[in-house]
């Protein structure tokens, strides 16, 4: 009897979490998936109408803007974070005495809420009181910087704030990767007469492949999820200039009473994230099993 209990106890302990995840994650995904096949407006309706929401969604100008913005934002965000992160990690790895002092400074934005980051950058980039006015006061009268109020350039201010928040984190990932590389490799290359720059380009950076991959996956999934920062920084504006899929979903579902389309956009977001994250997790779990 006791043995029987011991056999089942682990499963009983795991059951509540498993049940919660099954219902609240996978059940909800199926539910939202079904809603995307209905003509739900303010409230869910369950009358099946096929895939017609999908072409409708992709025909919407509003959605095209959101996807286009995500492409601009995502590419620049990933690229700049990676460049800054790699640069800072390599520089910090040069036996910098102040490393213990500098590293936390590079990384603290990651502890902040995107709403806080958005608030700080919103007013810092505001032409009336922020950067533009500072430059004018310092005597650079012709300095002009109103991107946050400019339909064409507002999306780049979202990139600026997001890079500020996340690049330190990428630095930490690369630094961990660098610290894992055997110093002997470096010495051998130096004895062979290779210059510092060449050693990095030819040997060290290629060895950081796993860190590049992790950074890419994490940043890409953060970019697709990006919501809070846009809300706090520009609230999707001016006009719809900084609308992203996440803000699109929210406004169509809860403000414009187009729940069917909102659900459809959520499914598209899920597909985007899963197509990046599933291969990654699969390969990670497999390599773990092998080792």
């Amino acid at each position: 009897m006791k043995n029987y209990l011991q056999l089942w106890l682990p499963r009983i302990v795991l059951a509540p979490s498993f049940f919660l995840i099954l219902v609240f994650v996978y059940g909800f995904i199926i539910y939202t998936g079904y809603l995307s096949l209905t003509d739900s407006r303010m409230l869910p309706t369950y009358e099946f109408m096929g895939l017609s929401n999908y072409p409708k969604l992709f025909g919407l100008r509003h959605w095209k803007i959101a996807v286009n913005n995500l492409a601009i934002f995502g590419i620049l965000y990933i690229l700049i974070c990676t460049i800054i992160g790699l640069l800072l990690a390599i520089l910090l790895d040069q036996k910098i005495r102040a490393e213990g002092f500098l590293r936390p400074i590079f990384l603290y934005p990651m502890a902040l809420s995107f709403i806080v980051t958005g608030t700080a950058w919103k007013w810092f980039l505001d032409p009336g009181i922020g950067l533009e006015s500072i430059m004018h006061q310092w005597g650079w009268e012709s300095f002009h910087f109103d991107w946050i109020k400019n339909r064409t350039f507002a999306i780049y201010t979202v990139v600026m704030a997001a890079v500020w928040q996340s690049s330190g984190f990428v630095m930490a990932m690369f630094l961990a990767g660098l610290r894992g590389i055997d110093g002997e490799i470096m010495k051998a290359a130096q004895i062979d007469g290779a210059s510092g720059f060449r050693i990095y380009r030819r040997i060290i950076i290629p060895m950081l492949r796993p860190a590049f991959l992790s950074a890419f996956v994490i940043l890409a999934h953060l970019a697709i999820k990006a919501y809070d920062l846009v809300i706090a920084l520009t609230n999707g504006g001016p006009g719809r200039a900084t609308e992203l899929p996440a803000t699109f979903m929210y406004s169509y579902t809860f403000e414009r009473n187009q729940m069917g389309l909102g659900a459809t956009s959520a499914i598209i977001m899920l597909i985007m994230i899963f197509s990046i994250i599933i291969p990654y997790l699969y390969s990670e779990l497999r390599s773990e099993k092998e080792s």
């Binding site: 102040a98 603290y108 709403i115 961990a176 590389i181 110093g183 929210y250 959520a266």
Partner: protein
């Protein structure tokens, strides 16, 4: 470890390149600190000083009025309540959510490493994948479900939400930590007649200190900083700090009190910032564990 690698050979060259490296690092340090500095100095200025330009200048007249206003009297939504009630809303949401998700995560991690059963890999895979879903996918059914159970707009409802979408991460943390724990010790304890909970309580838990700290910090930071769930599911009695801050900053009525906004932003950032300063090492470890598995 890699040392003196970018620099060339001659002494002068090395010195120049060291100075260059430090210069770049310092410029970036300034870049990262700038927004915090801007928030801090401008929260201490009267409003006219900010309007007059010079956002980077130190205050001429130092004043704590905007802090007082942000905390207890600023207009948020319909009430001139300041951020104080929302601060407590956040606390009473974060504490139970963090505790519950950490406890569940530690037990799950224990089962998934030391009491593996057929299909444990699939269970873990499903938990792991749940960490990365875009939460937009659950907003509609969650709103409906909270309504059905009478939890709409309550702190209890938000605790449930954060528990559900945090347990994947906490399980991941504990699983990775416990998988390095020698299974032979568990086996030996089993032979001595120790049961499931006894082994957990007496053997694993006493050595779980670091991972508990990492998990608590990770969960605390994430839940405190959450905006989407708060904005979607909270009512006055449960609106968290982040949502209140956004309401404060983006309320369209009246003059824009930048100094109050900055003070409010720092108030909203303070708990996680303090945690970061006190235990930065663990915070980084949590970040890395969330990114690359340990």
């Amino acid at each position: 470890m890699i040392s003196n690698s970018i620099s060339g050979n001659s002494g002068a060259n090395i010195k120049a390149s060291r100075i260059f490296i430090y210069l770049i690092l310092i410029i970036f340090a300034i870049y990262y600190l700038l927004p915090l500095y801007v928030m801090l100095v401008n929260s201490l200025k009267p409003l006219e000083e900010i309007r007059g330009g010079g956002m980077l200048n130190l205050p001429i007249v130092w004043s704590l009025d905007s802090w007082r206003s942000a905390w207890s009297s600023a207009q948020i939504g319909v009430d001139p309540s300041g951020l104080r009630p929302y601060f407590w809303n956040s606390i009473s949401m974060v504490v139970p959510a963090v505790l519950l998700s950490t406890i569940l995560g530690s037990l799950n991690g224990y089962v998934l490493t030391k009491w593996q059963f057929k299909g444990h890999g699939i269970v873990f895979g499903l938990l792991l994948l749940s960490c990365f879903i875009p939460f937009q996918i659950v907003l509609i059914p969650m709103a409906k479900l909270l309504g059905v159970f009478g939890l709409a707009g309550t702190t209890a409802g938000l605790v449930l939400v954060h528990l559900v979408y945090g347990v994947g991460f906490t399980t991941l943390f504990f699983r990775n930590y416990y998988s390095a724990f020698p299974t032979e010790i568990i086996k030996a304890a089993q032979i001595d007649g120790a049961g499931f909970f006894r082994i957990f309580w007496r053997i694993l838990l006493p050595s779980s200190g670091p991972i508990i700290v990492v998990t608590v910090i990770w969960q605390f930071t994430n839940i405190w900083n959450d905006f989407l769930f708060g904005a979607s599911f909270a009512d006055f009695d449960s609106i968290p700090m982040t949502v209140a801050l956004n309401n404060l900053v983006n309320s369209s009525t009246g003059v824009k009190e930048y100094n109050v906004h900055f003070a409010g932003a720092i108030l909203a950032a303070l708990p996680t910032l303090v945690v970061y300063i006190v235990s930065g090492r663990y915070f980084v470890r949590g970040l890395m564990a969330g990114a690359v598995k340990g």
